[in-house]
Amino acid sequence: MILIVMRRLLTTVCLILLAGYQPLHSKSMQTRNDLIERLENVAKLIRDDRLSDAERQLSTILRSNSKQPDALNLLGAIRAKQKRFDEAEKLFSSAVSANASLVSARMNLVQLYLIQSKPQNAISELNQVLRLQPENEEAFDRLSQLLLKEKRVDEFISLVEPVKSSRSISFSLLVSLGDAYLEKRNAVKAEENFRLALAQQSDDADAILGLAQAAHLRGDTALASSYLARAKGATVKSANTLHRFALVAFAAGRFEEANLALTEAVKLKPDEPAFYVFLGTTWLKKPDLVEAEQAFRRALELNSDDSTAQMYLGYTLMLQGKYPAARELLEKSLVKESTVPQTFYYLGLISQEEGDDQAAIQHFRKTLQLLPSYVEVHGALGRSYLNLKDYPQAKAELELAVKLNPNDTQAHYQLAVLYARLKDPQRAQEQMQIVERLKEAARAPQKPTP
């Protein structure tokens, strides 16, 4: 990866080097031409990997003018190639100090910052380049990509939207702009951009799926489904598109399709942990806990600190009754993400299953602190109080649970148990009738089991 960026950096240096000069008087021009020739020669030496020769020639130039910006820029390129990044940065910066409008040095700095994983510095530099050269397409493209990557959605929209009418925008940028508007939950503007993208490539799955996402955002599930169907007919080339397809299918409740798309996506891009996490959630929906577990484990192999994967794997193990391992993962995920209410909820359920209802109640209370609208927690709290024989508290929580969610089968069942214990068989029976009604409504087509 670094090698690719380095090659690109050197090309940038060489291309921009010659473009930055103004016409001069004849004598000066002669001198200048000599300098250009020498610099061109240096650039060639660098390209040929003859760094010592290049550096020798640059030393000669810099001896006569230690602040010669192009020479500093080229010496920076040599240092970058030698992976002496700190020195390279100083040299590029010196070049920029010597000539603030030296775009080539600024672009080299951008490359360097990207190598050093300093995207914010790169963005700042690219903004400077665009201030100097508003028409610089490379800077524009790279800035837009970086802003998207860094999720600086507002800045991305502000960058791209104004130039849409004055400049021909690439198909991929239009799709990205649509995505940015999806992020902003602006379905109308998202649709507008996906349609513009489709005008360029009429059968592109990404754009069609973008339209599906926008339709879904507007609540038009029928239209979303029709786009999804259309996308299935389109040629899907990339893992990212399959991922997008899965997102749309998942949102539409078509978990099987989401699962298939992600299964393909991870084949194309086997090193993307987020894909495995998403794949795992689709297995949970099937449900196939073993496959889900494998997917989450793969995500953690790729990124052991992925707290989302830790949380989901913990949840999956909990569903399989593997409580100690589940607890360990959930607690690990809390180290990085200590405010995820589900994590506390699942820890509470595990404590409950292990018979520690006092601990369960603490976890459930913490869940409600983080997310007071987490209605399932009241049912779980009710069950723990029921286990502890604290019937008044159990009654309060369970009645609240069914009030907040009248379809909470478990809470109705726990209420039935409570009423039975309180020697109120009629109310117990009423609750069981509700349970039966809810189960009947939810009953899936028959599976041949006894």
Binding site: G321, Y323, K389, Y413, A416, V417, A420, Q446, P450
Partner: protein, 562 residues
């Protein structure tokens, strides 16, 4: 002046013990013991009988739920014989070759001889389960065989044969019966009989359940109507009275499989825990031997925690954590999780399966038993599994038709899966159904008998369970019921003190060795043994032998070596 006859026997017994058993205790290995294993000795033992499940294209439900097995000492020679139940003629099945049950006599050398025909227990109906007990207190164990159809009570003549006394006894209970439990619900000293009823079923009621290729599979019992189970009171004259209605058992139609008689509230009256398939389980609390209150819902044992009725199949009861209260176990179908119900001492239970849940997630459990296979004093747990749908693998990648046995060792408050280290048989898969435990080789550790649906059974010999010390009890009630169901046995060896209630029934369609083996781990002496009989009598015994069987007679306060 005449001394009781038992005293000389007792002295002889203790002398014999001193000479024979003590060196075994001294020779306890000081290094860690090798794992206790179960070896499949079915072929070696001469058991050649194979279950015929009568599987048909029409997939009649009775085909997939049988059958049971039993350890029974039918000839009173002190060695466990073996009984297997088979399918037979019914309204949907006419055998084309002879099909019969099997009774195997123990040859005392690890082999068995088929004596079915001579004994007269071939059957002929579509057999389900078996329960062995001496219902008429004549000293010989009788057999009650449940069927799809009319059940059969075989009275043991004491001469190596049985006679069908069903009609005289009045216990035919026609329909579809599954598990039967001998126990004394009214504490009158006679063995009463509980018979689980499954659904209303006959050939004409077979619901069409088929896949998209029109292949029929076994339907979920949800499609069938539940039937009330039966409770028969023993009149003491060879006849029984059906008291299902007056005891309120008949008020609860179910789809009942496994049943166990135990005392969940320690009030001295035996209660019943009954597993139901696709219906809530029943916990019948015995109200003074007159009627039963069904409290499954309030007790928390009727449904899953989500309020779903599950596919309850095998059950058992034991005090697994030594707190003096009977806990319950019920096996369900795949993905429903099995339940280990801890008794909270107030007729409520909490479901705490822990490691059992993870190990059994995709299994479907039938025969099961709490039993102390390693003689370390606490009850361990064996599960026999198999999916009822022979097509299950075609639509579920994770679930198999044939499934492994699973063995858990009791770690004090929890159970640990030790199947991997317990013998090659645990690496194989079976269509397991019935299961009984018993010490067929009288070596002081419990062996296992498994009946598989549509295939050969398994006789598994426990190798190494007797490395810990033990005492085998043959309880001989004089006033209490002949099976001593409900007796509470308490024993202390050093700091170890355990109590065990002798339950009735348990597992699935099967019947266990009626003797009790008391493990004492590495202790070298039992300080005392107390038997609290169902009659209320208490016998306290000290100065007991080790690593042998003794006979304990109710009220006589004596024990003799067999």
């Amino acid at each position: 002046m005449t001394k009781p006859r038992f005293i000389p026997f007792l002295i002889l017994a203790l002398l014999a013990f001193n000479l024979r058993a003590l060196p075994q205790v001294r020779n306890k290995p000081s290094t860690p013991s090798p794992a206790i294993t179960f070896e499949d000795i079915t072929q070696k033992s001469g058991i050649a009988w194979v279950h015929n499940n009568a599987q048909s294209d029409a997939r009649h439900l009775p085909e997939t739920v049988g059958a049971g097995c039993a350890f029974i000492d039918y000839d009173n020679d002190g060695w466990m014989d073996i009984m297997f139940i088979n399918s037979g003629s019914s309204d949907f099945f006419t055998p084309t070759t002879p099909i019969r049950n099997a009774l195997y006599r123990n040859n005392h050398d690890g082999t068995f001889t088929d004596v079915t025909i001579k004994a007269g227990v071939s059957g002929g109906s579509f057999g389900m389960g078996v329960a062995a007990a001496d219902y008429d207190a004549d000293g010989f164990q009788d057999l009650y065989v449940t069927n799809y159809g009319r059940n059969t009570l075989y009275k043991n003549t004491g001469k190596g044969t049985f006679v069908d006394v069903t009609d005289k006894a009045g216990v035919a209970a026609p329909g579809w019966s599954t598990c039967a439990v001998w126990f004394d619900f009214d504490n009158d000293g006679k063995l009463d009989l509980f018979v689980s009823s499954f659904v209303y079923y006959d050939r004409s009621l077979n619901v069409l359940c088929a896949d998209d290729q029109n292949r029929r599979y076994y339907c979920i019992p949800r499609h069938y109507k539940p039937r009330p189970s039966h409770l028969f009171r023993n009149n003491g004259d060879g006849t029984f009275t059906d008291v299902s209605a007056e005891t309120a058992i008949a008020d609860y139609p179910g789809k009942s499989f496994g049943a166990v008689a135990t005392d969940v509230n320690n009030d001295g009256w035996l209660d019943l825990f009954v597993a139901n398939d696709t219906m809530p389980n029943f916990l019948f609390i015995n109200k003074g031997g007159k009627k039963f209150d069904e409290v499954g819902l309030a007790a928390g044992v009727a449904f899953s925690q989500a309020g779903r009725a599950r596919s309850g199949m095998g059950v058992d009861a034991a005090d697994y954590d030594g707190d003096g209260w009977q806990d319950l176990f019920v096996a369900n179908i795949d993905y429903e999780f099995f339940s280990l119900y801890h008794n909270e001492k107030d007729v409520t239970f909490t479901d705490e399966p822990r490691e059992i849940a993870a190990a059994t997630q995709v299994l479907s459990g039938w025969g099961l038993r709490f039993f102390d296979y390693d003689n370390d004093t606490d009850p361990d747990l064996l599960l026999v599994n198999g999916h009822p749908d022979d097509f299950v693998e075609m639509h579920n990648a994770r679930v198999k038709y044939k499934e492994p046995l699973v063995l858990f060792v009791n770690t004090g408050r929890d159970f640990k899966n030790v199947s991997q280290n317990s013998g090659a048989v645990f690496t194989r898969d079976f269509s397991g159904r019935g299961m009984a435990t018993g010490d067929f080789d009288n070596d002081g550790d419990l062996d296992v008998l498994v009946s598989n649906n549509g295939e050969a059974p398994l006789l598994l010999r426990n190798d190494g369970g007797n490395r810990n010390n033990w005492l085998g009890l043959h309880l001989v009630p004089t006033k209490s019921n002949p099976a001593a169901v409900g007796a509470v046995i308490t024993w202390q060896a050093g700091t170890l003190k355990r109590s065990r209630l002798k339950t009735g029934g348990g597992s699935y369609l099967s019947s266990h060795d009626p003797r009790e083996i008391l493990g004492i781990g590495a202790a070298t002496k039992i300080d005392f043994l107390e038997i609290r009989w169902p009659s209320g009598k208490v016998d306290k015994l000290t100065n007991l032998p080790l690593n042998t069987y003794v006979r304990v007679v109710e009220g006589a306060g004596l024990s003799t070596l067999r």
